[in-house]
């Protein structure tokens, strides 16, 4: 029962964030690139203010899987870096925290790009 509740929270919060993105796309005609930029910035600012931590504790993957979670780990890494290394941490912290994700995305995109050919898009 407990695990069911956890997944319900994950679904509710994760879905809500995605729905906000879709609402912005429909209402303001922003392109998907701008939506991604906007959400990363929102996530980073919320983490800096200290509001993202409670959301992440409440919804777990529902808050870390959306792109706001990426912005959050960028900001969180920078804060941690500053605490550990001082000024240098402000430069190094953000990328250190997200290095695994970015490298995985770039490497898999490179490999997939070499293997597969683009299909004509059917819309």
């Amino acid at each position: 029962m407990d695990i069911f509740l956890t997944y319900l929270k994950v679904f509710a919060v994760g879905g809500l964030i995605c729905m906000l993105g879709q609402l912005l796309i429909i209402k303001t005609k922003l392109t998907s690139s701008r939506i991604l930029v906007l959400f990363v910035c929102i996530g980073a600012i919320l983490e800096a203010v200290g509001l993202y931590e409670p959301i992440a504790n409440f919804a777990k993957a529902g808050a870390t899987v959306p792109i706001t979670g990426f912005g959050r780990s960028l900001a969180k890494g920078a804060i941690q870096g500053v605490k550990e290394m001082g000024f240098l941490g402000a430069f190094a912290g953000g990328l250190t925290a997200t290095a695994a994700g970015i490298t995985c995305a770039v490497v898999s995109a490179f490999v997939m790009g070499l293997i597969f050919n683009s299909r004509t898009k059917k819309y």
Partner: protein
């Protein structure tokens, strides 16, 4: 016919674009975005829980990093196979906002511009969507770090 001629070329083009842009119905797409986004997050939580069950020594932070890596790889593979775009057609924001959409936005131009060469096509265009995200994210992260340095 005469009325058309009074419109400038730009206005005609705007009219044409408006006529050709597919009209998205608000309510059903919102529901789809919610469903697909929620399900992707639930899959992420499932991977996270499975990893922590299989490797008991793994901490929460490490498990969630692995979970993101696995999701990013799966999304990249699905993009390569041409399946992710099909989800994107009806899911909209539901497939863009999760980290899988970020992965899709890197893989998709990489595949598309391969014909312009490996270095100047694939490697350059790979960041046409993800580049701004990384730039803005890094700048904000740097500013956050500086602010925390002084308080």
């Amino acid at each position: 016919m005469k009325k058309e001629k009074h419109l400038s070329r730009n206005e005609q083009f705007v009219k044409y674009v408006e006529a050709k842009t597919p009209k998205t119905k608000t309510f059903p797409t919102l529901i789809w975005a919610y469903l697909v986004g929620g399900i992707i997050c639930m899959i992420g939580q499932g991977i996270n829980d499975a990893l922590m069950a299989i490797f008991p020594k793994m901490g929460q932070e490490e498990a969630s990093t692995w979970m993101l890596i696995i999701l990013i790889f799966i999304a990249s593979l699905l993009t390569g196979l041409g399946l992710y775009d099909r989800i994107g057609v009806f899911a909209g924001g539901g497939s863009i906002v999760p980290i899988t959409g970020f992965s899709n936005s890197i893989t998709s131009p990489a595949m598309e511009f391969k014909k312009e060469g490996i270095i100047f096509g694939l490697c350059v265009k790979m960041f046409s969507v993800a580049g701004p995200v990384l730039v803005c994210g890094l700048v904000i992260s740097f500013i956050t770090g500086i602010i925390y340095l002084f308080i």
